[in-house]
């Protein structure tokens, strides 16, 4: 009984292992990069546009809207990182309907790597937006006594991101594997459909949580009265 696709090794040379996680991750990357390169090679801004271009536009504008909804003012700056998180995790989880495929997000190495990317990105964006001094000062809010707790919460939410995604995806594939030995006819298919839903929701959750953490790190506190004024104006306008 295999706990993660890390243990399925295709090729090994001494210390370097080519396991299923690496193969499927690079396969996904290849498909996504080549696919989008082909679709965006002939972009059109007129009324006639291809179906694939429309799909990509829908995806990109929805992600931009979501990022803006959660509170980041310039969504285009964060679109690269957050959009990549959502699309990679979403694609990795949706491909489980292909037989013989094991999602790389079902391995703790992949999810830990993604969580570490978020862990590094949050201070990077915060410092870029606010400057080093102001960003470090947010760790001492509301009082200096909270400094160790803020640091611990930073570490624990990274850990939670990794374990949440790993646990959800690994449990999905493990349930299907166990059911295949007990009732191999209809029930594993139903559980795979549930796994598709769970995978999409988890991809959304991962990127929304990354967005919320970045928004919390880049939010400038003196802007809060201005935001409320803007919301009040919009309310009056409606």
């Amino acid at each position: 009984m295999r706990l993660s696709p890390d243990e399925l090794v295709f090729w090994q040379y001494g210390f370097i292992k080519l396991n299923a996680t690496i193969v499927y991750t690079w396969g996904l990357m290849l498909v996504m990069v080549v696919g989008s390169k082909i679709i965006t090679s002939k972009l059109s801004t007129g009324l006639e546009r291809s179906r694939w271009q429309s799909i990509l536009e829908i995806i990109v504008t929805s992600i931009l809207e979501q990022i803006e909804d959660i509170g980041l003012d310039q969504p285009k700056k964060y679109l690269g990182f957050l959009g990549t998180l959502f699309l990679f995790i979403g694609m990795a989880n949706l491909c489980i309907i292909i037989p013989g495929y094991e999602p790389p997000t079902g391995s703790l190495s992949t999810t830990a790597a993604l969580a570490l990317c978020v862990f590094v990105a949050v201070p990077l964006f915060g410092i870029e937006e606010q400057g080093v001094g102001n960003y470090l000062k947010t760790y001492t809010e509301p009082t200096i006594i909270m400094l160790p707790f803020n640091i611990i919460s930073e570490l624990s939410r990274t850990l939670a991101l990794a374990i949440r995604l790993f646990g959800n995806i690994m449990s999905g594939s493990m349930i299907v594997a166990i059911l295949l030995t007990i009732t191999p006819f209809i029930f594993p298919i139903v559980m795979t459909v549930l796994g598709l839903l769970v995978g999409t929701v988890q991809a959304y959750i991962f990127s929304v949580l990354a967005t919320v953490y970045i928004a919390a790190a880049t939010r400038e506190h003196k802007h809060r009265p201005k935001q409320e004024q803007k919301k009040a104006d919009q309310g009056v306008g409606e």
């Binding site: 706990l3 374990i163 949440r164 690994m170 449990s171 959750i205």
Partner: protein, 91 residues
């Protein structure tokens, strides 16, 4: 293959603990999720315009609560399938 008492104790303790971990560990997250969905439904009935925001916040909150149950599940799986004491006892 006769097992000595040391190996038997490890096996019994691991299996019993993993069963109890998952059984007790999912009680509280399930109650919490039920309450949060109930509140979300009633607030969506009161203000249908805000249902997009409510749905999004609901899903984020559910994922945070769910992750506690996932922690218990991961511990349970580790005890059954990747138990370090069991592997060491077998050698």
């Amino acid at each position: 293959m006769a097992l000595d008492t040391y190996t038997t104790t490890i096996a019994v303790a691991s299996i019993a603990t993993s069963g109890i971990t998952i059984a007790i560990g999912v009680i509280a997250p399930a109650i919490g999720e039920g309450r949060s969905i109930a509140t979300a439904l009633s607030s969506m009935a009161q203000q249908p315009d805000a249902s997009a925001t409510i749905t999004r916040t609901l899903f984020v909150g559910l994922a945070m609560i769910e992750s506690l149950a996932i922690y218990c599940f991961v511990v349970s799986m580790i005890l059954i399938f990747a138990n370090p004491f069991w592997n060491r006892a077998l050698t």
